[in-house]
């Protein structure tokens, strides 16, 4: 990882590095609800928003949207369709389960630290484009939660909350997401930073589908450490779980193939479940510098 220059606000905030991404914006792929007018397409149509298309008039529609000129020319009533633009409400969900504490030498940092770096940078980018950002920490339940807001010190509070995140041994990601779903009022973007190492993936995605049903845009950032993909070399290890799930002695050479098959199946399951739920899935290796990942993500998202 390159040397970073952290700010006083958060040890995970590297403003100099983020300066390279100053021209980039985070854009949504779906229409969203926002509090204020902004750069993002709103779920609301009409008003002074951007013209999109014509549609044949139906009885009962607002006559103010009727395009009289078209009616005069063609003799058929059409209404003008406008795409409203609003600001982004983004909630960063950080998984603080015990498994996120894992970090290999090759990665240089734990998955949680990686998520903290990435989330902090994203909060900075989102705030810079006049969007609102919030954070929710999930582990054995819904932890500290800061809803997206437009207050002047919002980003500061969010980044401080991100910095304070610590892991807890247990994982109840699905329940925590449901709790979060119950608390949020307005649609927006839910960005989940997690390794998805949970006992019941279906329950997690059932919770995520709740967001999707409410037209949230859900972005899954699947954090994977290199040593999780491929067991380290060595004769024998005593593997110890990070979430009170015991220990086991094994020789990596003997189980490497089976392990990799199972881990690949897990990654594929997360991806398939996410895509089938309409989520945006992105696999993130913690061996890749987070700025590179963030840059790629924003390029892909820039509209």
């Amino acid at each position: 990882m390159p040397a970073t220059v952290t700010s006083d606000r958060s040890r995970f905030l590297d403003l100099r590095a983020l300066a390279a991404l100053a021209h980039m914006r985070f854009a949504t792929r779906h229409q969203i609800d926002g509090s204020y007018s902004g750069r993002h397409r709103s779920r609301q149509q009409g008003g002074a928003a951007e013209f999109v298309d014509y549609r044949e008039y139906s009885a009962g529609e607002d006559l103010r949207r009727l395009d009289w000129k078209v009616l005069a020319r063609t003799g058929r009533p059409y209404v003008r369709l406008y795409q409203d633009e609003t600001n982004l409400l983004c909630t960063l969900v950080i998984d603080a389960s015990g498994s996120m504490r894992f970090g290999s030498r090759r990665a240089g940092m734990s998955k949680l630290e990686y998520a903290q770096h990435l989330a902090t940078a994203l909060s900075q980018v989102i705030t810079r484009q006049q969007d609102q950002v919030g954070v929710a920490v999930v582990s054995d339940g819904l932890g500290e939660t800061i809803p997206p807001g437009g207050a002047p010190g919002q980003v500061l509070r969010v980044q401080e909350a991100i910095e304070r995140v610590e892991t807890k041994p247990a994982t109840r990601l699905a329940e925590a997401l449901r709790d979060l779903f119950g608390r949020v009022q307005r649609r927006g973007v839910l960005m989940v930073f997690s390794d998805f190492l949970v006992a019941d993936l279906q329950a997690v995605f059932a919770s995520l589908r709740l967001f999707r049903h409410r037209r949230w845009e859900v972005v899954l950032l699947h954090l994977i450490d290199p040593d999780e993909e491929r067991l380290p070399e060595g004769r024998a290890y005593r593997f110890e779980g990070l979430e009170n799930d015991g220990r086991v002695d094994a020789s990596p050479a003997e189980i490497r193939r089976l392990y990799e098959e199972r881990f690949a199946a897990h990654v594929a399951a997360v991806r398939d479940l996410g895509l089938s739920a309409g989520c945006d899935y992105r696999r993130v290796s913690t061996a890749t510098p987070y700025l590179q990942v963030l840059g790629g993500f924003l390029v892909e998202r820039s509209g």
Partner: protein
């Protein structure tokens, strides 16, 4: 199933634990590694376990099987002969088992000795049987009964059997039979007791030399005798060093020949090499040994110092059935200057007397200045003649004498007669010049004192009154024997002019050997008689030298010296004893006090303890080393301080080298003495085949290893 090397089974059992132990000792020490995806590791481990549990079980079985089979093969499973006949119903059995543990039973064919073949058969005879009482006699030079009487403690007998090994001894079969007879005789069925079935089982290789004669008559009449042979079908080829000795007397500084007898008991002639080690010197003897005979190889040896020389003769490059007899230790006694004791009452001053002539002949005086040396009187010869007055004749006077010469001794006292008889019996040589009538009495007394040790071919008698013995000439001489053999073709010319006078009349003694008469006068009386006397010898020259022209003849000195040489050369050819045999050896007179003597065994693990080396005691004025049974092969020394005063080599009995077995028909017929004897051959062809079981077991072991590879390949896919 019995095994040649049962200890290999214990090693195998330990080896079964070895893979686990090695695995435990070499298992990798795991490095602690926290891992978020441990559940995938757990699943992988569990899946692997489920997948490979069968494989691991099969591999473990195959490996353990391979190790067990390997141990089994090393243990050499043996087939055995027929099972022992079960005793009659309701009858008690008294069974004595004689197990031949003589050296010949160590002869191995295809790596298995006859003794090892006999062991499982013997164990079967000693297997459990209610009411059975058994005894085990391990038969070598002496019978060694495990218990003094029959015992029902069969496990103890089997333990002794398992620990028994062949001994470097001959088989004293009769002693073992007598011992068995004592044990079986003590098992009476009288007093209304139940009938006792007596059995004598002899397990042996039935070596011809040990079984040429035996007597079963000491056994109770109703004893069932079963002879079970464990000899291979064909007598295995064997070479052996049978004897190592000096040809004649070894004298310091005088070159002599050392002879080695090599026995070739094989159907073909063999070119053999013998490495002979004497002290620090090594000699290589080579020769062709015809089959089934002993061949004498010899080499010259020049002893530089008097004393005891030890060494060994070893057959080089020989692989035969019995390696134990391929090497033989030996002891050679090298004498210093010869000392003669001249017992005479004649005047010692030089004059024409019989004793003077003898003295000068035995120890020539140094040549006067300007006078030529006698050709045979080499500087190395420092013979010394010590005159002894017959009245002062005692042990001390004769202590250092190699040859006692009696000439005109007059009437010998009884003590003198006893002393001379004792000396001769212990190996001393005596030359008696019979010139006076009283000598006939002395010789008669000597013959009486010697008893059966001395069988003179003639009896010496005083000349008949009125008969004058004069002008006698030699009519017959043993020209092929010493001392006359040395004259060769010149013998007739040499002895023709000789005329003798004096001496004694003689008459033929039927108890003696006529061949011991070396020369006869024209009147048919004996001139020269040489005969064995115990371990020594006696020569009688029947003549009055003063009345003969022999001293003036040029043949006199060589004749006397050759005669003395013959007598001195009759000493013990080989200072050896067969291992296990009784030792009664007289020590040299100058050995000293018994309390200052120690007996030293040869170095080696098999050497007996000092307490088992016998004792030295004084007997009849001489020191006697008594040893109940000679120890394992090697040189045993009697020492006074650091000096060796006597040495004896214990050797493998030469008779054990010939591995030919006796014809079984002789055992059941003539030698059985009319007794019903059952002879069985345990080492039959099929049992030889069964002895190859180890090869099949080894093949099965290899099969297990191959199956393991196949299993590994199969489960890998």
């Amino acid at each position: 199933m019995n095994f040649l090397h049962p200890w290999a089974l214990a090693v195998g059992a330990a080896a079964l634990c070895l893979p686990l132990l090695v695995h435990w000792l070499t298992r990798p020490r795991p490095v602690r590694l926290p891992l978020s995806t441990i559940r995938f590791v757990l699943e992988a481990v569990q899946q692997r376990r489920a997948r490979h549990r069968l494989r691991d079980f099969i591999i473990l079985l195959l490996r353990a099987g391979a190790v067990a089979l390997l141990a089994w093969a090393f243990a050499r499973p043996l087939g055995a002969g027929k099972p022992p006949q079960a005793p009659g119903a309701g009858a008690e059995t008294a069974r004595v088992l004689i197990l031949d543990q003589s050296q010949s039973t160590a002869a191995a064919v295809r790596g298995i000795s006859a003794f090892e073949r006999a062991r499982p058969i013997a164990a079967r005879y000693l297997s459990g049987n209610s009411g059975a009482r058994a005894g085990l006699i391990l038969a070598g030079a002496r019978p060694r009964a495990v218990f003094g009487r029959l015992s029902s403690n069969l496990p103890a007998l089997r333990d002794e059997l398992a620990a028994a090994q062949p001994r470097p001894e001959r088989l004293n079969l009769q002693a073992a039979i007598n011992r068995a007879a004592e044990m079986l005789g003590g098992e009476g069925g009288g007093d209304g007791g139940a009938a006792v079935r007596r059995e004598l089982i002899i397990l042996s290789d039935f070596q011809r030399t040990d079984w040429s004669t035996f007597d079963l008559s000491p056994l109770p009449k109703d004893t069932v005798v079963r002879l079970e042979s464990v000899a291979p079908a064909q007598a295995p080829a064997n070479l052996a060093v049978l004897r190592v000795s000096a040809a004649g007397r070894l004298v310091e500084g005088r070159e002599a020949r050392v002879e080695v007898d090599v026995g070739n008991y094989s159907p073909a002639a063999r070119q053999v090499q013998v490495d002979l080690t004497i002290g620090d010197g090594t000699y290589r003897l080579e020769g062709l040994c015809p089959p089934n005979v002993a061949t004498t190889l010899s080499t010259s040896f020049n002893p530089q110092a008097a004393g005891w020389q030890f060494g060994s003769a070893r057959l080089a490059g020989v692989e035969d059935a019995l390696p134990a007899d391929d090497v033989r230790p030996f002891v050679l006694g090298v004498r210093g200057a010869t000392t003669y004791a001249l017992v005479t009452r004649e005047d010692p001053r030089p004059h024409a007397s019989s004793s003077h002539f003898l003295e000068r002949a035995l120890a020539p005086a140094p040549g006067a200045p300007g006078q030529a040396q006698v050709a045979w009187a080499s500087p190395a010869r420092r013979e010394r003649v010590q005159r002894v007055d017959p009245k002062a004749l005692d042990k001390d006077a004769l202590a250092g004498a190699d040859l006692v010469v009696l000439d005109h001794p007059g009437k010998l006292s009884t003590e003198s007669i006893g002393l001379l008889a004792a000396l001769a019996r212990r190996g001393r040589a005596i030359l008696y010049v019979a010139a006076e009538p009283v000598d006939a009495t002395n010789l008669k007394l000597l013959a009486d004192a010697a008893g059966s040790d001395l069988k003179l071919p003639v009896n010496f008698l005083p000349p008949r009154p009125g008969r004058v013995r004069r002008g006698l000439f030699l009519a017959e001489v043993a020209k092929d024997q010493l001392p006359f053999r040395e004259f060769g073709e010149a013998l007739p010319a040499a002895i023709g002019p000789l005329r003798f006078g004096g001496g004694l009349d003689t008459e033929r003694n039927p108890a003696g050997l006529l061949d011991d008469v070396q020369a006869t006068y024209g009147d048919r009386t004996a001139c020269l008689v040489t005969t064995a006397w115990g371990a020594g010898s006696l020569a009688v020259l029947n003549a009055e030298l003063a009345e003969s022209n022999l001293p003036a003849s040029p043949v006199f000195v060589p004749l006397v010296n050759e005669l003395a040489g013959r007598l001195l050369g009759r000493g013990p050819a080989e200072h050896s004893v067969a291992s296990g045999d009784r030792v009664d050896a007289y020590l040299p007179p100058d050995a000293g006090e018994p309390s200052k003597l120690t007996i030293v065994a040869p170095p080696g693990a098999a050497a007996p303890k000092v307490a088992d080396l016998g004792t030295v005691s004084e007997e009849g004025g001489f020191l006697l080393w008594h040893w109940a049974a000679a120890g394992p092969p090697g040189v045993y020394q009697v020492k006074r301080g650091d000096a060796t005063v006597f040495a004896l080599a214990s050797t493998v009995p030469p008779s054990e080298a010939d591995l030919a077995r006796i014809d079984p028909s002789l055992l059941e017929g003539r030698l059985a003495g009319g007794r019903q004897v059952h002879f069985t051959q345990a080492a039959s062809a099929d049992s030889e085949a069964r002895d190859d079981t180890w090869a099949w077991v080894l093949a099965a072991c290899v099969g297990c290893l191959l199956l393991e590879v196949v299993a590994l390949l199969a489960f890998r896919t």
